[in-house]
């Protein structure tokens, strides 16, 4: 389906729902195409092609609400699906807070191009993709006697969405993504450590295609011979690609649903200090070719650039229309776009060199955070650092604490942002973190 066909179907479905008793309706149609290639030990292991379609309809019927999605997009089947959905919705209890957003908050067509689509991607030949994955693999394959297995992956995807609502919203967007990935296992003393590296891009020509296999191999070999160290409080550096694990609980606590459900340790802390003054986070939907860039969110609300945390002070939450009404808060948007940090002066190496004794975390292993209280505990892997140098890998250790305190322990924010993700995290250094080990 092209964009016009998607709009036509969305409008048809919306009209059918309105004719059959819905007071308000939102319809979105998404489709995507993706291609995945896995090479293992110099042989193609998997070739996967997928084409996916779905339609989602939100129904507001007599102050009652339900939402439905389906991959069966034939008109007659959709009509029957909607009629049944409206009938079922009538059995629900009324909810005065359910409605479409106020029309003046909607994105209006005509803004600038965020450059989130590579028109070339659809024409990349399968042979080219296989060659690229092979090049990634060959950077590592046979390069060390300890290697057990090398796998490399090429993936690309193109996704499109169209959305209409019965109170006037109309919008469409498209995104492309291409990535190369390597994962390597090696024989250690008593275990088989593995690690990975990847590169991600929106444009095929901008994808960094070199050094992926080599970097994955270096990282894996460095993990041979891990040791557990004594329990205690240590300063810690968290590598940029792992920072999102400790950021996610903070982000969950900023959501309207968490606040309303009393599962947010940040509820009622607007304009209060929640972190070290080193922490400044903006939500910026308009970065050219950003992985989280968008003009409107999944309700059609116009995205705006806004501060989330400024020098440790909490400035904004992520509030959607429903919880905005329940909490009497204005809904700028219920979902994050590009999460951008004010960065410091040094990269990961610079921070490691400055550490007398501490731990560099390069990955998390399980764990969780209690949203109501902020208590957390996570398994970690990484390295013991002494006098600015990694001494040996560490494993089988946990970090624990409370998110309300943890972010006040932030000492330094790096300048090595992860620009291939929507969460553009730099490496970060914290002091006095509880580790459990021996």
């Amino acid at each position: 389906m092209n964009t016009t066909e998607k709009y036509n179907l969305a409008n048809l479905v919306m009209d059918h729902a309105l004719k059959n008793g819905a007071d308000q309706v939102s319809v979105s149609i998404n489709d995507s195409r993706s291609s995945d290639i896995e090479i293992r030990d110099q042989k193609i292991d998997k070739l996967t092609e997928s084409i996916r379609n779905s339609l989602t309809i939100k129904l507001f019927v007599d102050k009652k609400y339900s939402a439905h999605s389906t991959s069966r997009l034939k008109k007659e089947e959709l009509f029957h699906f909607i009629e049944e959905a409206i009938a079922a919705t009538r059995f629900l209890a009324e909810d005065e807070f359910r409605s479409l957003p106020e029309p003046d908050l909607y994105y209006k067509e005509g803004s600038f191009d965020l450059k989130t689509v590579d028109p070339v991607l659809d024409s990349i030949k399968a042979e080219t993709k296989i060659d690229l994955a092979n090049e990634v693999l060959n950077e590592a394959f046979g390069k060390d006697d300890r290697i057990i297995s090398v796998s490399s992956y090429y993936s690309d995807s193109i996704s499109n969405r169209v959305m209409v609502t019965s109170n006037g919203f109309k919008g469409d967007s498209s995104n492309t993504n291409v990535s190369l990935y390597a994962v390597i296992s090696v024989k250690g003393d008593s275990s088989r450590p593995s690690d990975y590296w990847y590169e991600n891009a929106i444009f095929f020509d901008k994808l960094n295609k070199k050094g992926i296999g080599q970097k994955a191999l270096e990282r894996t070999i460095q993990k041979i011979g891990p040791k557990k160290i004594k329990s205690g409080k240590y300063p810690v550096i968290i590598e940029n690609r792992s920072v999102s694990s400790v950021l996610n609980p903070l982000y969950s606590a900023l959501e309207g649903s968490s606040i309303y459900q009393k599962q947010s340790f940040l509820a009622s802390k607007e304009n209060k200090s929640v972190a070290s003054p080193k922490l400044t986070i903006y939500d910026d939907p308009f970065i050219t070719s950003g992985f989280g860039s968008q003009l409107f969110d999944n309700e059609g609300l116009a995205c705006i650039k806004r501060p989330i945390v400024e020098k440790g002070i909490l400035r904004n939450f992520y509030i959607d229309t429903y919880y905005g009404k329940k909490l009497k808060m204005k809904p700028p948007s219920g979902s994050s776009t590009n999460v951008v940090f004010t960065t410091g002066d040094r990269d990961l190496d610079g921070m490691v060199k400055s550490m007398k004794i501490g731990i560099l975390i390069t990955g998390f292993n399980g764990g969780n955070c209690n949203g109501s209280t902020g208590d957390f505990s996570y398994g970690i892997e990484g390295f013991l650092i002494e006098n600015g140098k990694p001494v040996h890998p560490v494993n089988e250790m946990n970090i624990s604490g409370n998110m309300n305190q943890f972010w006040f322990n932030l000492m330094e924010v790096g300048n090595d942002i992860l620009d291939g993700e929507a969460f553009r995290t730099p490496s970060m250094m914290f002091e006095d973190i509880d580790f459990s080990g021996i």
Partner: protein, 467 residues
């Protein structure tokens, strides 16, 4: 075949296309799934959600290489197109597939009395309302209750190039109770779930009352909870949900795809002693009504009760078609997939430990300073390194052989082979957990369950506080 409006001749033509470039084997996996969720918030069932998945996955194998494509349109034209894409894994002349249908009649481990498809939301609402009312009535400190009912019905049709034809109807039900309590400015939350492969006969007042009582009791205890000291200690794992230890510490590492690739920490341990002689671990896909049970796996193979560790010896991995072929063993019925959009891979079903020679009381009494845990939210494992973790929602300190203060929100980490060898006591109170666990691997989520008698692990690293 009527459900998907396809004929045997069409299936034959699609498989012939899938094999036209010389692959060894192809299969078709048709799925039609309807998921429904009814949700209670603020004392009312005021939102409902549904999702329909419909399509066919076409898999082509050449040795251990896989070509895969799927179509959400089951017209012959669309399926032929997908089959041509999947066929590209091979590159030599193919042969046509003879129409040789061998219909497999599996046992039915989950007969349905009342189908979810025939159950109106009108009949689901009173149970969620009852749950809300029961929970609120139980304690004045309760400020929020959420309740969810998720149900699904899946029609599955499987056909492969060896002529195997099988169909299945797979029901699923999950009930969730969430309780928020506030006391003197502190907020605590807890949730309890139950899940079975069953129809709407699942919904009973007894089940609702059981969940309501449990969630209130556990939430209230959290106000007294403390955190243990950080570090290594003896850990007693209570009967039931503690099966997460088996799932994370060894179950994933027993999945044969990792072993075939030599990347599991258990890759060279087949036939070796890996645990005390009273340790017996099983993965079972045949327990009636269990969330992890399947009448046949997603490659059309019979499910079974697979003995993984017998008298402390590693006896079997968990196989899919590719790994069974590699190891020259019979498939164990562990080839599973999230849905028709995904390739089947070895996955657990219900993984549990059999009873051992000890008593629960003597296990607890044997610990001077340690913890007792029996309720978890999530776990994870690094297959090659062997490091596994699980997050404890609730447990107790053990001091001088007695359960004392509650503990909560701690992560426990250990190493799989070491933890298995460190299981030094196993009680005789085996319990299967029906807490609705979902297992993630390779981007695919499948329902899985586990079980355990009370056991003692000599040493695990407990996330806690350093004084």
């Amino acid at each position: 075949m009527d459900h998907f409006e396809v004929t045997p001749e069409q299936l034959q033509r699609i498989l012939t296309t899938a094999l036209e470039k010389g692959a060894d084997y192809a299969d078709l996996y048709f799925e039609h799934t309807q998921n429904n969720t009814s949700a209670l918030e603020d004392g009312k069932v005021n939102s409902a959600y549904s999702n329909v998945k419909f399509g066919v996955g076409i898999r082509v194998l050449k040795g251990d290489q896989t070509g895969y494509a799927y179509s959400e349109d089951v017209t012959e034209e669309a399926m032929i197109k997908a089959a041509k894409t999947a066929a590209n894994i091979a590159n030599s002349p193919g042969a046509s597939v003879p129409l040789n249908i061998n219909e497999y009649q599996p046992p039915n481990y989950y007969p349905v009395i009342n189908s979810w498809e025939e159950t109106s939301i009108k009949n689901k609402i009173p149970y969620l309302q009852r749950m809300n009312d029961q929970i609120f009535a139980a304690d004045k400190r309760i400020t929020k209750v959420n309740a969810y009912l998720q149900d699904s019905s899946s029609y599955i049709l499987f056909f492969n190039s060896e002529g195997r034809l099988a169909w299945d109807f797979r029901p699923m039900a999950v009930l969730v109770a969430v309780c928020i309590m506030e006391d003197k400015g502190r907020i605590e939350n807890f949730y309890v779930t139950r899940s079975f492969r069953t129809g709407s006969e699942f919904l009973t007042n007894d089940l609702v009352d059981e969940l309501s009582e449990e969630v209130v009791k556990r939430t209230a205890l959290l106000f007294d909870a403390t955190k243990p000291k950080a570090g290594e200690m003896e850990v007693v794992m209570g009967a039931g949900e503690s099966g997460i230890l088996l799932h994370e510490a060894m179950g994933h590492a027993f999945e044969a795809d990792f072993n075939r690739k030599n990347t599991s920490i258990f890759s060279d341990k087949m036939g070796q002693k890996v645990a005390e002689s009273f340790v017996n671990i099983v993965d079972d896909g045949t327990i009636p009504g269990n969330r992890g049970t399947l009448n046949f796996d997603d490659e059309g193979n019979a499910t079974q009760r697979t003995s993984l560790v017998s008298d402390g010896i590693l006896k079997s991995y968990l196989h899919d078609r590719i790994s069974a072929e590699f190891y020259k063993v019979e498939p164990t019925g562990n080839g599973r997939r999230q849905d028709f959009r995904n390739i089947p891979i070895p996955r657990m079903r219900c993984t549990y430990m059999e009873n051992g020679p000890h008593k629960r009381e003597e296990i607890i009494e044997s610990v001077k300073n340690g913890i007792y845990v029996d309720n978890f939210s999530n776990g994870q494992v690094n297959i090659g390194a062997g490091d596994f973790t699980f997050f404890v929602k609730f447990g107790y300190l053990i001091e001088n052989g007695k359960l004392t203060r509650p503990i909560k929100d701690i992560n426990i980490i250990g190493n799989g082979p070491q933890a298995l060898a460190d299981i030094v006591m196993v009680a005789d109170d085996k319990t299967l957990s029906n807490a609705g666990a979902t297992c993630g691997k390779g981007g695919q989520e499948v329902p899985a369950t586990f079980g355990m008698p009370t056991v003692k692990v000599k040493k695990l690293t407990v996330g806690g506080i350093n004084s």
